[in-house]
């Protein structure tokens, strides 16, 4: 139940609103309201996954590595959630018991199916969708 996925999406959505101007980790941290080092750690993972890239030096910062419409939430999920497992299976059940010696393999199949369903849904949304949702919602609140 960590917030890495949510923060990573926040970062990429933020980069998506920057029109190609590099954003420093300090700037992003200000939007997320957290530590710049944490942002850099996440950006490092996003960069390794090929979703973001960065420029060092004056005026540098992070950029999207590809079009926001090409980055899905599944990509982000895979980039930041190392083991990518929603459920854990308990270790060392009793092999002398029929349930104990088979539960892990049986559960693995069902959990993988559920995980696949989750990932398929995540794949249907892109960072561009998120950015559009944010802009739409913001114009509505601005109107009130």
């Amino acid at each position: 139940m960590n917030t890495r996925f949510a923060v990573a999406v926040h970062i990429l959505a933020f980069l998506g609103t920057q029109d190609g101007i590099p954003a420093s980790s300090e700037l992003i941290a200000g939007s997320v309201n957290t530590n710049a080092s944490l942002i850099r750690r996440l950006l490092s993972q996003l960069t390794k996954a090929g979703l973001a890239r960065s420029q060092m030096g004056t005026g540098g910062g992070a950029l999207l590595a590809m079009d926001a419409g090409k980055i899905t939430l599944l990509d982000v999920y895979r980039a930041v959630d190392e083991q990518g497992d929603v459920f854990a299976i308990h270790q060392d059940p009793n092999p002398k018991c029929m349930v104990g010696r088979n539960i892990q393999a049986v559960l693995r199949v069902r959990i993988d199916e559920a995980e696949r369903a989750l990932q398929a849904e995540l794949a249907r949304t892109t960072i561009a969708d998120i950015a559009a949702d944010i802009a739409a919602k913001d114009s509505i609140s601005a109107a009130n």
Copy 2:
């Protein structure tokens, strides 16, 4: 990433193989290979959710509260995973930033969709299915 869900399914699958004979928490703990107190804590949640019931006293123990074919993995998930949220959303993003003041609501929608997809998949499997898988897998290994 806790194992409560997996252990709870293990417990119910175990009860499903008991043919209506109450199973003590000690017995179940032996199959799961953990502590009886932990089993009782989980059984308490399963009982509150109406999935299991128990008899105190000599010869007592836990029983399924309904037919194994009527209990879905979603029921178990809801019974033991209190908050039932796969993803957490970071708190206190910066309201002065367009992304910061809208990201939570926007992410909430998408995360809820993903969560629904996960739950729909879990709802497709029952404890009876799990018990059948276990029996099938066990007879295969026994044949080798």
